[in-house]
Subunit: 206 residues, 2 copies
DNA sequence: TACCCTGATGTCACGAACTGACATCAGGGT
DNA sequence: ACCCTGATGTCAGTTCGTGACATCAGGGTA
């Protein structure tokens, strides 16, 4: 048998989430996490760059999914439509592990340092999205803007989903939010009218 | 005369910017900054929450300007138009102090920790913007989305402005970028019509 | 079988980021 | 003459994060 229990990384993630949840991020020391996971503090830092990073899985498939879906979308599609499809395709990633996600989300919501890190991850996502859009032939500014808008919409959609008492699928919130975007360029009194217009056949995602 | 040289805070800001610029953020210790400013390390932490915060002025007028301009805009305007005006009105804040801004920007661009902090500041801005839009009567999701998209557009516009060899005014980049955003958001068949409606004057997207 | 190599971990030492508690003392008000 | 306040100094301590080196099971190879 091997010298140590296997999956030290997994144990560290679990221990960290439990402690952060139970006593707060600030009140938890890396030494505590390590002890609970049965390793030393030094080993924690061999697996995670810092105390925050343990909440942001390194094997995150999101960039690849978004890039793949974006690159694969039919060329004549409008940029925002491409992004909508990519985000919808990525939605399941958030819906699996539905047991741990709320804990994780609560911890992050309770701590500004962790929110900063989350914003950084989202910005990185926007960056890869912009890169992929450029490869589709979009001009620089357009690509960057479309990517940023897409991520912005995702942030809002995710927020809605987390707080949705009816537990509608994330994909639905994404589509609705991106539909809402269309209201933004119309004066407020036309909002309801625009609502009808925008509801024309957006369900064609394969 | 007073017991110490006045404006310790200002001296700390200056010393920090110089050192960050000259030897990098990581390679600079708070002790160094304090010594150069003629105070102790402890005093640094009385003025700034942490080593990063010294680059993000506490007297930042941006939130107030944005909130004020947003609240004051005519009610029938489309949300994105309201935001465009607010951002344009805030633009001068970035264009004054044009001597220090590039240094500051270079330091931030060179360090991920500082970029995280900048993203957090922008997110806070989006949050106040959303709050003000809600007070104008906008529904929750619409307000949040408009604010996020506005900040997203601002990020892109600011990036363009910083790298603009022709040094066009920031306000122009903001208008152009938000015009691009309208094209992205509007369904293709409505794009030209929306273009006429949203046109506020001289600008034209090439 | 005997040997070496590798990779994951432990051990130790240390600098640098922050924080709490208490001391100091000019200037202003009473 | 007195006290109060606010900005700073002093000091001790915790925690984060890193470099350098030691350990040793398991796998490959002669």
């Amino acid at each position: 048998m091997s010298r140590w229990e296997p999956d030290a990384r997994g144990r560290l993630e679990k221990a960290a989430l439990e402690l952060y949840n139970h006593q707060g991020f600030d009140a938890t020391t890396v030494a505590e996490i390590a002890t609970r996971a049965g390793v030393t503090e030094r080993t924690f830092y061999r697996h995670f760059a810092d105390k925050r990073e343990v909440l942001f899985p390194a094997d995150n498939p999101l960039p690849d999914i978004l890039a793949g879906a974006t690159a694969a979308a039919p060329l004549p599609l409008a940029p925002l439509e491409v992004i909508t499809r990519a985000l919808v395709e990525a939605a399941p990633v958030f819906e699996e592990r539905e047991d741990l996600a709320p804990q994780r989300q609560a911890v992050i919501a309770a701590n500004p340092e962790l929110q900063e890190r989350e914003l950084a991850k989202l910005a990185a996502l926007a960056s890869t999205l912009a890169h992929t859009l450029r490869q589709r032939g979009l001009e620089n500014t357009t690509a960057a803007l479309a990517a940023e808008i897409g991520i912005a919409a995702f942030k809002v959609a995710y927020e809605r989903w987390v707080n949705d008492p009816d537990r509608h699928p994330l994909a639905q919130h994404i589509r609705e939010t991106l539909d809402t975007a269309r209201h933004l360029i119309a004066p407020p009194d036309q909002a309801t009218a625009t609502d009808d217009v925008s509801r024309t056949g957006q369900e064609s995602v394969a």
